[in-house]
C-alpha cells in the first residue's frame, strides 16, 4: 500500500467553510504545515468551520496537532468549530488533551535591560554575591570553631579519603610539572648567567625560584584544576540530586559535613605537595646546570646556601593560603549550583576560574607583604 499524498482544501459549502483533509496525515511524510492551513483560514475568514475527513487515510498526532491549531484559531477568531466526521479515536485523543486546564505561568515583569542597568541591578547582584561570600566565610569559621571544640559532625573517614584523593593521587602530575618547571627555570637562568660567566648561580636561581614562587603557584594551579573542580562537581551533583537538602533536613550542617573535610584535606596536603615540588624542581634543574659545566657538588652547595628555612616558610605559607582559596572556590561553587546538568558544568568552570584568579591575586599580595617585611 503506497501512502496517499496528504493535502487539504478549504471549500465553501452552503453550511459554511469546510476543511477537506485528504491522504495520510502522518509524521513520517509531513503533511502541509499548520502554518499553511492557518493561512488559508485567515484568508477565508469563515464564521463556521467544519471538517471533512472522508478522504483521510492513516493519521497520527500530526493530524491532532493540526486539529488543535484550527480549533484554537477558531476560538480566537470567534468562529464555530465543527469536527464533522473526524475519526472518533482522534476526537477521543483530542478530548483527552483537554482534560486538564492549561497552566498559566505568572508573567515575570520584563523590565528593559537598560532600565535594570540604571536601577543598579548588576551592582546589587555583585553586592549580594559579596555578602554571600562573606556568609560562606563566616559559616566556615563557625564550622571550624565547632570542629576545634569537638562538636562538628565531620567524619574522619571523609577527611582521610579526601587527603588520599588530593595528596598521593596527585603526586604523578605534581612530579611531572615540578621537574619540568625546574628545568625551564634552569634553562632561562643559565643562558643569561653564562654570558656573565656566572652559571654557578643557576642553583640559587632555581632553588629560590621554586621555593618562593613556582612550587606554591604551580601546585595550586594543578590542584585548582584537579581537586577544586572535583569538589564543585561533587557538591553540584549532590545539589541536583537533593542530597544536600537531605543533609540539611537531617539537621547536619553541609558546612561541617561536606565542606570542612574537603577544605581541611587541601590545607593539609598543599604544604606537603609544595615542599615535594620544591625538591623535585631543584632536581629537575640539576641536569641542565650540569650541561653548563656546573658540577653536582657545586649545584647542591649553591642550592643549600641559597635556601634558608625562611624561604621555605614563605612558600609554604602561600600554599596553605592557596589551599583555602581553592577549597573555598570549589565548595562554594558546588553549594550554589543550580539543579541541572548544565549548572554542574557551570559550577565546575566557576570554581576553576575563580580559584586561579584568586591565586594570582593572593600571590601578588603575598609578594608585596614579603617585600615590605624584607624576607
Amino acid at each position: 500500500m503506497t501512502p496517499a499524498a496528504p493535502g487539504f482544501e478549504l471549500v465553501q459549502r452552503e453550511s459554511g467553510a469546510v476543511l477537506v483533509l485528504r491522504g495520510d496525515w502522518v509524521v513520517a511524510a509531513p503533511p502541509p504545515s499548520l502554518e499553511e492551513v492557518l493561512l488559508a483560514l485567515r484568508d477565508a475568514a469563515p464564521v463556521h468551520l467544519a471538517l471533512d475527513c472522508a478522504a483521510l487515510g492513516q493519521w497520527d498526532s500530526v493530524l491532532l496537532a493540526t486539529l488543535r491549531g484550527c480549533r484554537a484559531w477558531c476560538g480566537e477568531a470567534g468562529a464555530a468549530f465543527d469536527p464533522g466526521n473526524t475519526p472518533a479515536p482522534a476526537l477521543r485523543l483530542l478530548a483527552l488533551s483537554d482534560a486538564v486546564v492549561p497552566h498559566r505561568r505568572a508573567a515575570e515583569p520584563r523590565a528593559a535591560a537598560l532600565r535594570r542597568l540604571l536601577a543598579g541591578e548588576p551592582l546589587r547582584a555583585a553586592f549580594a554575591g559579596f555578602l554571600s561570600a562573606c556568609a560562606f566565610v563566616g559559616e566556615l569559621l563557625i564550622a571550624l570553631s565547632r570542629l576545634l571544640t569537638g562538636r562538628a559532625r565531620m567524619r574522619m573517614v571523609d577527611l582521610l579519603w579526601f587527603v588520599q584523593q588530593a595528596g598521593p593521587r596527585a603526586l604523578g602530575i605534581v612530579t611531572l610539572i615540578s621537574v619540568l618547571v625546574g628545568m625551564i627555570l634552569a634553562y632561562l637562568g643559565s643562558v643569561q648567567l653564562q654570558q656573565l660567566g656566572a652559571q654557578v648561580y643557576v642553583a640559587d636561581l632555581v632553588a629560590l625560584g621554586m621555593v618562593r614562587e613556582m612550587a606554591p603557584l604551580m601546585t595550586a594551579v594543578i590542584m585548582a584544576g584537579r581537586t577544586g573542580a572535583a569538589y564543585a562537581a561533587q557538591l553540584g551533583t549532590m545539589q541536583t540530586r537533593e542530597e544536600i537538602d537531605a543533609i540539611e533536613t537531617l539537621g547536619i550542617s553541609p558546612m561541617e559535613f561536606l565542606v570542612l573535610p574537603r577544605m581541611l584535606a587541601l590545607v593539609l596536603v598543599m604544604p606537603m605537595l609544595c615542599v615535594y615540588s620544591d625538591v623535585l624542581g631543584m632536581l629537575g634543574g640539576a641536569p641542565v646546570a650540569m650541561a653548563m659545566d656546573v658540577t653536582w657538588g657545586q649545584y647542591l652547595a649553591g642550592a643549600q646556601e641559597a635556601v634558608t628555612l625562611t624561604h621555605i616558610a614563605t612558600g609554604v605559607a602561600k600554599s596553605i593560603a592557596f589551599g583555602v582559596l581553592i577549597g573555598a572556590a570549589g565548595c562554594r561553587a558546588g553549594l550554589l549550583c543550580g539543579r541541572s546538568s548544565e549548572a554542574v558544568g557551570q559550577a565546575t568552570t566557576t570554581a576553576v576560574v575563580r580559584a586561579i584568579v584568586w591565586l594570582v591575586v593572593a600571590d601578588a599580595a603575598f609578594n608585596i607583604v614579603y617585600q615590605r617585611l624584607g624576607i
Binding site: 509524521v27 504545515s33 499548520l34 498526532s61 483527552l96 541541572s340 548544565e342
Partner: protein
C-alpha cells in the same frame, strides 16, 4: 491490519551483570496491542529485563525479536530504525535538565522528522496537554515536581507516536489520582493508536486495571514463573508465589 499478532518475543534470554546471573530462561511473547506488565519483587531484575528489551544491554544468551526480527542480530542502522518506533520513559524521568519541557519533547521531532517549526510547536503543546502538562512548555525539569517530570518524560516518549511504549515504574512518585489518570491515558493510547505497552510495575491496582498480559519474575529461582493475563494467573497459576503476589492487592487480608 495484517501485521503479525505477535509483536515482541523474548526467547531464551539470560541476563547477567558480570558473572552474576540475574535471570535466565526467559521465554514469553507480547502481542500487538497488549498492555504487558513485567512484575515481581524488588530487585528481581525487572528494570534489567526492560533494559535488555530496549537494547541498552546485550544479553548473555538468547534474543529479543520484534515482529519476528531479532534485535540482537541486526546491524546498527536496522537497530536505530527499530528504536525510532519505541517510546521509552525512565524510572526518574530522564529529561534533559538543560532544556525546557517543550525543547525536550520537540527533540525527537526535530531529529527524526521534517516537520515545520509551527507544527512542531503545536504537536509539543498537544503532547504536553495529553499528559496533563498544558502550559508548562517553558518550564525546566528542575522547576516541576517529580510526578510532573515523569509525565513530561512520557510526553517525550510519545512524541513520535511509537508502536511500543516502555515504562519503568511509571506510577512511582505519582499521587493515586495522577496514577489513575496515567492508567487511563495508557488505555486510551492503546485504543486510539494501537500501541503495544510494556510496563514494569508492582502497583497491583495498576496491574489489574490495565494489564492484558504479564510475566512474573522470581528473585529466588532467578527465572520467570508464569506468563499470562494477571486476572487468570491470580486464580489459576500453578505457582503459589505468583498467586500470593497478585493476591496481596485483590483481596487484602485474605492472602496467607
Amino acid at each position: 491490519m495484517d501485521a503479525p499478532r505477535e509483536h515482541i518475543r523474548v526467547s531464551g534470554l539470560e541476563m547477567r551483570y558480570g558473572s552474576r546471573v540475574i535471570q535466565s530462561g526467559l521465554d514469553f511473547a507480547v502481542m500487538r496491542g497488549d498492555i504487558f506488565v513485567i512484575m515481581g519483587g524488588s530487585g528481581c531484575g525487572k528494570s534489567t529485563l526492560l533494559k535488555h528489551m530496549i537494547g541498552l544491554y546485550e544479553p548473555a544468551s538468547g534474543e529479543v525479536l520484534y515482529n519476528g526480527t531479532s534485535y540482537q542480530r541486526c546491524d546498527g542502522e536496522a537497530r536505530a530504525a527499530m528504536r525510532q518506533r519505541w517510546g521509552i520513559t525512565y524510572q526518574s524521568g530522564g529529561l534533559f535538565s538543560a532544556m525546557t519541557l517543550a525543547e525536550n519533547v520537540a527533540l525527537p521531532l526535530t531529529q527524526y522528522t521534517s516537520l515545520d517549526p509551527r507544527s512542531v510547536r503545536e504537536l509539543v503543546a498537544y503532547k504536553l496537554a495529553l499528559v496533563g502538562l498544558a502550559g508548562f512548555e517553558e518550564y525546566y525539569p528542575s522547576e516541576i515536581s517529580g510526578g510532573m517530570q515523569k509525565r513530561a518524560g512520557l510526553a517525550r516518549a510519545i512524541a513520535l507516536d511509537p508502536e511500543i511504549l516502555f515504562f519503568d515504574e511509571p506510577s512511582a512518585g505519582l499521587d493515586p489520582v495522577s496514577s489513575r489518570l496515567l492508567d487511563e491515558l495508557i488505555l486510551q493510547m492503546r485504543e486510539a493508536l494501537g500501541v503495544t505497552v510494556v510496563i514494569v510495575t508492582h502497583e497491583l491496582a495498576s496491574i489489574f486495571a490495565i494489564a492484558s498480559n504479564s510475566v512474573y519474575l522470581d528473585a529466588e529461582t532467578r527465572t520467570m514463573l508464569d506468563t499470562g493475563d494477571p486476572r487468570e494467573l491470580l486464580l489459576s497459576s500453578p505457582h503459589a508465589a505468583v498467586r500470593r503476589f497478585l493476591g496481596r492487592g485483590a483481596a487484602p487480608g485474605v492472602s496467607s
